[in-house]
Amino acid sequence: MKKRKPNPYRDQYRVWYPFHSPDDPCPPIAKQYVVPPNQFLGFQPPNLPQFSKHEALIKGTLWPIFYSPYPPKKWRDKDGT
């Protein structure tokens, strides 16, 4: 299956693997970090789609494009969304 190009607004997590030496007793770790969607949108264009008032308060932003839930580790699936 062709690896789809990651959509930066949805797959906000990136993973990197610190060097793991053979003498390291602990298992190798995968560090994850979020690149928030506003990095990919320079000057905000007008008339972007908006959440309803109720949902905006819950989601923490008025525009779905900026929604960045930052889910805790245990809720994240493998690729981190």
Binding site: Q44, P46, N47, K53, H54, A56, L57, L62
Partner: protein, 84 residues
């Protein structure tokens, strides 16, 4: 039941306030966006309606002249908005 209605009204006020904050920040950088301006003004009027309805029914929300006080259910007694 009255408690639920009061909480629902406060929630509505919070929702409109959040939209106003977002639009305010947006209008700081996009003063020429007239649609957002209309939405902002519309939400401001809506907030005013919700605020006056709340204060009429349950008492003042803010101090220092932003809300009118009253007796008996003034700010001396409460419950305060954050105590609900």
């Amino acid at each position: 039941m009255e408690h639920e209605k009061r909480r629902a009204l406060l929630r509505k006020l919070q929702e409109v306030d959040f939209v106003l904050v977002e639009l305010n920040l947006y209008l700081d950088t996009h003063p020429s966006d007239l649609d957002a301006l209309d939405q902002y003004n519309h939400c401001a009027l809506e907030r005013e309606a919700i605020r006056s309805e709340y204060e009429e029914r349950y008492g003042p929300l803010m101090h220092f002249g932003h809300s009118s006080n009253r007796y008996p259910c003034g700010w001396n007694e409460g419950p305060w908005p954050w105590e609900i």
